[in-house]
Amino acid sequence: MSKPSDLVQGTLDLLILKILALEPLNGYSVSQRLKQVSGDVLHVSDGSLYPALHKLEQEGWIAAEWRPSEKNRRAKYYSLTRLGRKQLEKESSNWQRLSVAISNVVKLKEA
């Protein structure tokens, strides 16, 4: 993927929070789900995904737990916290406002 535009970079948090709102997932699954749901349009590079996940965890918006996986290993599953839910609402409404504003500008008819 080419260098992500600033817009998408900032909204990565929003996307991750939303996906985790639906069900707890591990990092790999978040990446897959995002690809799936967006019809292959949104493809987050792993290089951006994991730092983003860790940042969200440090902020306390998502919480992690380790679940056992096959072969005696464990996997890290992230879920949304109550605080994260509030943050999600906030960022969602911000995004709504932003996208409406951009649409309005783009829809301007040329004279």
Binding site: G47, Y50, E57, Q58, E59, G60, W66, A75, K76, L83
Partner: protein, 902 residues
């Protein structure tokens, strides 16, 4: 919202901080899990396990970098980094103990001196006085320009009743007298106070009771409050003293209470004698005359009132009094100042000047440490470049170098605190009345806060610039460089050199101040005094019933019949003089009403007979009452006629001896011998001798006119006898060699006058030293600062020049190959040192001219632009620079130019 946040994040952060390896391992595991899943995915899509793994890895990207980014999101990183940096710094410093020791010592000197200085300023100038609402207390002084006078009781009363801006007004009066204690006669400061005294200050006796209204009634039994240190020192903290009677000035007083520790009022009196407080009794003179200025007045402003407003109000009150009382025609001006300000006025200029000096020392120390760090960074530049190349961000490196600087400063601050404590101990060992509020000087919270500020400022000044420079280089450049030195390295050593020039400039300021003060002290000690300072001792003797001013006025009030008793001079003083003359080694003994260098003297107005002695027409002169041996004991030459003799008694004509200045002023060149003069009480004196001018009361003025009278001729009735003669006298004893006669003298008094308080033994030179103590202390302090500054300049110059030699090795090698002699190489280094010094000197001396103007108040007989001082400072600093340059120059000349060129 917040607490929930913490429930999630705190355990996380604690874990990141304390279980780092574990957390890192979790990260590894998480990434590995991801890669495995992706690999499995690819396998499911049909790739071989090998290809799948390769594809997954390639898709992921730089694993290490991503892991690093994840680690960077941790919020506690700064804390972790700080701990790491500190540990690293400590390791580095332990490996270079020399560097660390010099840096920490330099910082300790600078920070410690500043901390001690600030402690003094905080305790003396800034802290409120220990009284209730102390910030609203003001001192009210009366002036009849240009003299400051006391306030008369009538004026005090009018101020108290008429002022609307002053809420409470108290008055105190005072003198010295002798108190009888189990250990003998003790001179005390006796302070009389008005009835609202204790309430206004918000102080109560620690033991016993305060004065009540009955104590103030006329004819009441005399009562007294003792100070805590008097009670402890002289009465052994005996609580049974309450209610007992003590003789004060010969009169029994009942002790009603002991004041708390450290209570001292009026606050700015000389603190040599212990204090007692009495109710102020009003004498007829106080109740009648506005010219009886016996009191000092202190008031408390109402909330919101300012001293200036109160001063204006008092001016209006003065006008009102003048209208009312036409006799009051003097132009009295009242000055209202915050009490704390008035109290510390004597010491404030010196403290502020010393603060300036101490800041200079800190600045020089910072420059030194900065230079040290610059040099160190230069030596470590390969290592720093490596770390930059490996990916450490510039800010990370900067943080680490600053951490190193901070560690040095913190260690220096702690050592400085210890140093400051020592300095404060030294301050506490100064004479007790030297600094007002000296016993309140203590380390307090504001001082520690200031210490932190000093540490922060010092870190920034000494570490920031070197750290910025060190992290500014491009790694490739540094890693590529050989021994030739990079351009940035040269820039850095240029900076070092100019910093040292700056140190020279700052030191020049300190050195000039020292030189000026040294010159001043020299002048003071070599004034033509008009008497001999060596081999003369002096002491005071006070009889147990010394009345002083207060006793005299009280006796007047009670209309006690004034007995025509035998004068204490014939009874006690003169016989002891004769006795002392018999002691081995004594040349002569004289009496004087004033102690040497005592500035509180008395002035009378004189005129020729038939003329008026009023203030405008008479000739004012200092008076002194002396005995026959005075002139010889002091070593003052007799210019004409004779000195007062033992034969001048009450029965013979009243005589006077005048000094040259008086003779010139009143007789305008005529010979005054045999002439008569009249004083304001209309007594006529015949002048029998003229004494050489002597400066024993005010060192720095030209001699004042003086008239000497004979002790034996003072009539026992009257003011002069009670206050100037019967209250005590000063003995002046001239000896052949340096003999200590203290014990013999005390023995004589024990036998002849056992109830006398005999103390304050000094040599005349010791008395002079007491007067010049101020200047001497300032000299020692600035001298010490200047010494420290020179040391720092020496090491700074040495360091910079050594560096220069190291950097220019190739250039030196070339020169030598081309035939330059060792001498010329040495000359090159010495020249560089001189250039730096001269530039620093030029700037420093110019700055000193400005600073010198500020110091003018402390100087005597010395101009701020004193040529001798500036010349001396130039020589000293040039010598220092040459000394610093010697070894680097020698090293430069010894360069093996073949090795240098390789």
């Amino acid at each position: 919202m917040r607490p929930e946040h913490w429930i999630y994040t705190i355990p996380l952060r604690l874990r990141s901080l304390f279980r780092r390896p574990q957390v890192d391992q979790d990260l590894d595991e998480e990434i590995r899990d991801h890669l495995e899943r992706r690999t499995a995915d690819y396998v499911a899509q049909g790739l071989t396990p090998e290809e799948a793994r390769y594809a997954a890895r390639r898709e992921f990207g730089g694993t290490e970098q991503i892991k690093e980014e994840c680690r960077d999101t941790r919020k506690v990183n700064w804390l972790y980094d700080l701990a790491q940096d500190t540990a690293y710094t400590l390791r580095q410093l332990r490996r270079n103990p020399g560097f660390a020791a010099i840096a920490i010592l330099t910082l300790a000197l600078g920070i410690g001196a500043n901390t001690a200085m600030f402690t003094v300023i905080d305790s003396v100038l800034l802290r409120p006085l220990p009284f209730r609402d102390a910030d609203r207390l003001v001192s009210i002084k009366a002036m009849v320009v240009p003299y400051t006078i006391g306030v008369s009781w009538l004026d005090y009363r009018d101020i108290r009743t008429r002022s609307r801006l002053l809420q409470d007004v108290i008055a105190t009066g005072g003198d010295s007298t002798v108190m009888e204690t189990p250990l003998g006669g003790q001179k005390v400061d006796r302070v009389t106070v008005t009835a609202n005294f204790l309430d206004t200050l918000g102080v109560h006796p620690a033991l016993g009771r305060p004065f009540d209204s009955k104590d103030y009634e006329s004819g009441a039994a005399p009562v007294v409050l003792l100070s805590a240190d008097l009670w402890r020192g002289r009465f052994g903290s005996d609580t049974l003293i309450l209610g007992r009677q003590l003789r004060l000035g010969g009169v029994p007083h009942t002790v009603v209470g002991i004041m708390p520790d450290g209570f001292r009022f009026p606050p700015n009196g000389p603190d040599i004698a212990p204090r007692v407080w009495l109710p102020m009794q009003l004498s007829p003179s106080m109740l009648r005359s506005r010219r009886d200025h016996g009191t000092d007045v202190v008031g408390r402003l109402k909330a919101g009132a300012t001293p200036k407003a109160a001063q204006a109000e008092l001016a209006a009150i003065v006008q009102g009094i003048r209208h009312q009382d036409p006799e009051e025609d003097r132009d009295i001006r009242y000055i209202v100042e915050p009490l704390r300000y008035a109290m510390t006025a004597s010491v404030r200029p010196a403290l502020l000047a010393l603060t300036g000096a101490v800041f200079l020392v800190l600045a020089i120390a910072c420059v030194n440490v900065a230079n040290l760090q610059l040099a160190r960074h230069l030596a470590r530049r390969q290592e720093l470049a490596m770390r930059a190349a490996l990916g450490a961000g510039r800010s990370r490196l900067l943080r680490q170098l600053m951490a190193e600087g901070a560690v040095l400063v913190i260690a220096g601050a702690l050592a400085g605190l210890a140093f400051a404590t020592l300095l404060l101990l030294a301050v506490h060992s100064l004479p007790p009345n030297f600094i007002p509020r000296a016993d309140e000087i203590r380390l307090r919270v504001p001082v520690f806060a200031m210490l932190a500020v000093f540490a922060a400022v010092t870190t920034i000044l000494s570490s920031l610039v070197p750290a910025l420079l060190a992290t500014h280089t491009h790694p490739e450049e540094v890693l590529r460089e050989g021994s030739g030195g990079s351009t940035s390295g040269r820039k850095r050593s240029r900076l070092s050199e100019w910093m040292v020039a700056g140190q020279v400039a700052l030191s020049a300021i300190l050195l000039v101040s020292t030189g000026l003060m040294f010159h001043t002290l020299y002048n003071l000690e070599h004034i033509h005094f008009g008497f001999d300072l060596d081999r003369v001792i002096t002491f005071t003797a006070m009889p147990a019933d010394a009345q002083g001013m207060i006793g005299f006025l009280a006796a007047q009030k009670e209309k006690r019949p004034v007995q025509l008793t035998e004068s204490i001079v014939t009874r006690v003083y003169q016989p002891i003089v004769d006795h002392l003359r018999q002691l081995p080694g004594v040349v002569d003994v004289g009496l004087s009403a004033w102690a040497p260098f005592d500035r509180n003297t008395m002035w009378f107005s004189f005129a020729l007979p038939g003329r008026s002695t009023s203030e405008e027409e008479g000739t004012k002169a200092q008076i002194c009452i002396v005995s026959s041996g005075y002139a010889r004991a002091m070593g003052t030459p007799l210019v004409e006629g004779r000195m007062i003799a033992d034969s001048d008694t009450a029965a013979s004509t009243s005589v006077a001896v005048v000094n040259e200045t008086f003779a010139k002023r009143l007789f305008l060149g005529r010979n005054p011998l045999g002439e008569q003069i009249v004083d304001q009480s209309k007594t006529t004196y015949t002048i029998v001798g003229v004494l050489g001018d002597a400066r024993q009361h005010d060192l720095t003025h030209t001699p004042d006119p003086e008239v000497l009278f004979a002790y034996q001729q003072v009539p026992t009735t009257g003011f002069a006898y009670a206050v100037l003669v019967a209250s005590g006298t000063n003995y002046i004893v001239r000896t052949h060699g340096d003999v200590d006669l203290t014990n013999s003298i005390r023995q004589i008094f024990r036998q002849a006058a056992p109830d006398f308080a005999v103390d304050h033994f000094r040599t005349l030179r010791g008395a002079l030293d007491e007067v010049t103590f101020n200047q001497r202390l300032s000299l020692y302090l600035t001298g010490a600062f200047a010494g420290v500054a020179i040391l720092m300049v020496l090491t700074g110059l040495y360091g910079v020049l050594s560096q220069l030699v190291g950097q220019r090795r190739r250039e030196i090698g070339i020169r030598m190959a081309l035939g330059a002699s060792q001498g010329s190489i040495q000359g090159m280094i010495l020249r560089r040192a001189s250039v730096l010094t001269i530039v620093g000197l030029a700037v420093g001396l110019a700055a000193s001219l400005a600073v010198g103007r500020l110091l003018r108040a402390f100087l005597y007989g010395v101009k701020p632009s004193d040529g001798l001082t500036y010349f001396a400072v130039t020589i000293v600093l040039l010598a220092v620079s040459i000394a610093a340059a010697l070894i680097p120059a020698r090293n430069a000349a010894k360069t093996d130019f073949r090795a240098a060129l390789r």
